[in-house]
């Protein structure tokens, strides 16, 4: 591609956006400069708080009212959008630049047909007749590879899948052939197989139409899949700009190196099989929802069907699957947050599957769970100390002893014991996840269920929390059941893996074997879809 000769679609020169008083820093982004050439995909990559989304909003003229772009210029095909009037910005949006968002369900209007939402763009910006508009909508829907456009044009967003919704968003964004497409984490909310298709689509459309794409992501796998050039941002500043090869293979700054080495490798390390006593064994575990309804004609949903999983002491077993595969249902059954429909859950020698709450309580301490969202798993009204000692005190430990245990655990998870009387909002996401781990450990469990424990965290924090989980597993000879959708994480932490699809375990085996020779076609599809699988991330790449 010849980017030097053509003038850029988008040029950001020395842009600074200030934050309101009382924020943790003065500028959301400060003095950033980069450009997007026609037909180029520029990935802006950074962790949360790096200012990447603010940059996108500034380009679209969608900055929140408290934020002000006070320095620099944003040139869209040579025109400074920071000085454009509201009316001019409205004209530019849709025709010259367009944006797609992370969550296609909330970005689409639920009471309008999907075709109507694409047609709306045409209605606002063109003089096409209704018949012509419909033709254009059908045409663009074919271009984004939506099956049966004639049928889908008249359906509502809830009637189609997440991937199809994102295709609709892309269709609406591209229908007027804008020069610039801004994609703000467009695949983060999607399953990995869907993500692969959407990334492919964006690449294909962009090549065919010569659109410049500003692609915002936190995922280096995605960067490796789509980027031509990469901008790395940290705390509102551009750390490094370079071609994909330069950034991924020869990163110059320490920060980029740290980020890339934090991405777990898809190559599982060698592991010795664990032979400890069996801590958890499920037998034919099933959970069915619905079925009874009025007059016994309700729809039956088999969330989990005949799941057999065994976890030994000191072993980490992963359950891998996409959303709706039933992996969380299995975890919640084992933690007995819900009662399974049938089957057995043996914790030690006891089958807890159908115990009533009263007789279940003594067994609760053996199984602890770490949740996905560290912002919601701690009661915001209680100090973290109160959260940690709650369990031990329930089981009769004196408060003073429980506090001592909590202090030891805080040190163990890498936090100051003096922070016990702070509230959750005073901690960052990674720190909260450490507190949640301390709370689980306070019960001295045999089995720790980690339900997507790192998927809400930034990649650098993710690596630390994974290391902490591994440390406590060894130290306490914990059995760990690790629920994840992320193959990279699974490859690094799991001794064995069970792959779930639509409530059924389709394949199960030692991690290295599974990654080397997946037997089931769904497992193969998952591996195929893993973004950046040829890029070779992780410690190996950084060395």
């Amino acid at each position: 591609m010849n980017t030097a000769a053509t003038s850029p679609v988008l040029a950001i020169n020395g842009l600074s956006v200030s934050l309101p008083r009382g924020s943790d820093r003065t500028h959301a982004v400060s003095d950033i400069t980069f450009s997007v050439a026609p037909g180029e995909i520029l990935c802006v990559v950074g962790e949360s708080g790096s200012g990447k989304s603010v940059t996108a909003q500034a380009v679209m003229g969608l900055l929140a009212r408290e934020l002000a772009a006070d320095k620099g210029e944003i040139l869209l095909e040579g025109e400074n959008v920071l000085e454009a009037t509201h009316a001019r910005l409205r004209d530019l949006r849709g025709t010259r630049m367009a944006m797609i968002f992370q969550e296609p369900m909330t970005a689409l209007n639920p009471v309008m047909t999907v075709g109507g939402q694409i047609a709306e763009v045409l209605e606002i910006h063109t003089d096409l007749s209704e018949v012509d508009r419909r033709q254009r909508v059908l045409q663009i829907m074919r271009h984004v590879h939506l099956p049966e456009p004639e049928r889908l044009i008249d359906v509502y967003p809830h009637q189609i899948s997440g991937g199809q919704r994102q295709r609709i968003m892309i269709a609406a964004a591209l229908v007027l052939d804008p020069a610039l497409l801004i994609a703000d984490e467009p695949t983060t909310a999607l399953d990995v197989t869907t993500q692969a298709q959407i990334l492919k689509l964006i690449r294909e459309l962009q090549e065919r139409r010569g659109t410049g794409v500003l692609f915002i992501t936190h995922d280096f796998g995605v960067v490796a899949e789509v980027a031509h050039r990469v901008v790395v941002m940290q705390s509102g500043k551009v750390v490094e700009i370079g071609s994909r090869e330069e950034i991924l293979r020869r990163p110059q700054s320490d920060y980029t190196r740290m980020l890339i080495s934090s991405v777990p490798s898809l190559k599982p390390p060698a592991r010795t099989p664990r032979t400890g006593t069996v801590a958890l064994a499920t037998e034919q575990l099933s959970k069915t929802y619905g079925g009874k309804g009025w007059l016994g004609r309700g729809r039956v949903v088999r969330a989990a069907e005949s799941v057999d999983i065994t976890v030994r002491r000191g072993e980490t077993v992963g359950i891998v699957g996409e959303s709706g595969s039933g992996k969380s249902t299995v975890a919640r059954c084992i933690a007995r947050l819900i009662e399974p429909t049938s089957g057995a859950i043996r914790i030690g020698n006891v089958d807890v599957a159908h115990l009533p709450e009263r007789s279940l309580r003594p067994h609760r301490r053996h199984v602890q769970i770490v949740f996905q969202d560290p912002y919601r798993s701690l009661n915001p009204r209680r100090t973290v100390g109160a959260s940690i000692i709650e369990g031990p005190v329930n089981f009769g430990l004196a408060t003073a002893d429980a506090v001592n245990r909590a202090r030891r655990l805080m040190a163990l998870v890498g936090l100051s014991p003096d922070a016990l009387d702070r509230y959750p909002h005073q901690f960052s996401g990674g720190q909260r996840q450490r507190v949640a781990i301390a709370r689980a450990l306070a019960m001295e469990p045999q089995l720790l269920i980690a339900d997507e424990p790192v998927s809400a965290l930034d990649v650098s924090v993710q690596a630390q929390v994974l290391k902490l989980l591994d440390d406590v597993r060894q130290r306490f000879e914990l059995a760990v059941l690790f629920i994840t959708h992320d193959l990279r994480v699974a490859a690094q932490v799991c001794d064995r893996i069970a792959v779930m699809q639509r409530g059924v375990v389709v394949e199960q085996g030692p991690t290295a074997e599974l990654f080397a020779a997946p037997k089931h076609e769904y497992t193969r599809a998952l591996f195929e879809a893993a973004p950046g699988r040829h890029a070779g991330f992780g410690a190996a790449a950084a060395a």
Binding site: G22, I369, Q464, K467
Partner: protein, 309 residues
Amino acid sequence: MSIEALPADLAETAPAARKPSTWGIVVRNPSVIIGASIVIFLALIGLFAPLLGTIDPSEINPVFRNKKPGVERTIRADDGTERQFVHRFGTDTLGRDVYSRVVYGARVSLIIGITVAIISVSFGLVIGLVSGYIRWLDGIIMRFMDGLMSIPAILLAMGVVSLSRAGLVAVVVAIVIPDIPRVVRLVRAIVLSIREEPYVEAAITVGTPTPTLLVRHVLPNTIAPLIVQGTFICASAILIEAILSFLGIGIPPETPTWGNIMAEGRSLFRIYPHNIFYPGFCLAFAVLAINMLGDGLRDTLDPRFAKRV
């Protein structure tokens, strides 16, 4: 172990400045300030009614029937001394002083409003918590509540009052019953969303007994919306009491309440509008103030209405 939090991790820490105390926001809201001031003002009037230049509000004086505001009269006390008394708001058909009756009427209205709010919120809270958390009871309780809600509140209140002797207690009970289902629905909805929160599930997995769980983790989330709901109930209870009294089935007519005074004045209201005007004005003023207080509290306490800062 060498797990040190990286600077990036620490930078994420929420700044302390972003969390001013809720109470601090509440007391700065203009609706709250105005509404609360008026309510306190009315409460003080009710409390110090005997000191505000009033006479016995149920003293009948046939000579001074139906006098317009501003009429003077000589009152002879038991020890023989005489003094001039001005009927500021005039007198009613039995010659009772309307000013004294309106001032004393504030007592009944506020007592009814506040007791009804406290009682219905307390009952509604307990029933709502049980209904939201204990699933098998939910259907039974909610169908019963639906039944209660399907009867018009005034009709239900009239029924309850006519079952017993008219009086303060009967009126309070009559207003509380139709209000409980509204509180139950509110609390149940909150419980249903909070029980799905991971921190509640975490409390279950560490073996927290259900009553403790409800009080410790679920209940605090209901407080703010209930305070708001309480003020609205208080306002509507004052109105319903006035309606019941106006219909002659509330507090016995010798006790001054705003509704009673208006009921008295109704027959002659074309000639002597003051009998309805003064209590009516106080009633509207009180309800407006309480609703303003409630609106202000809702804006500040209820996250769904909170303005983004």
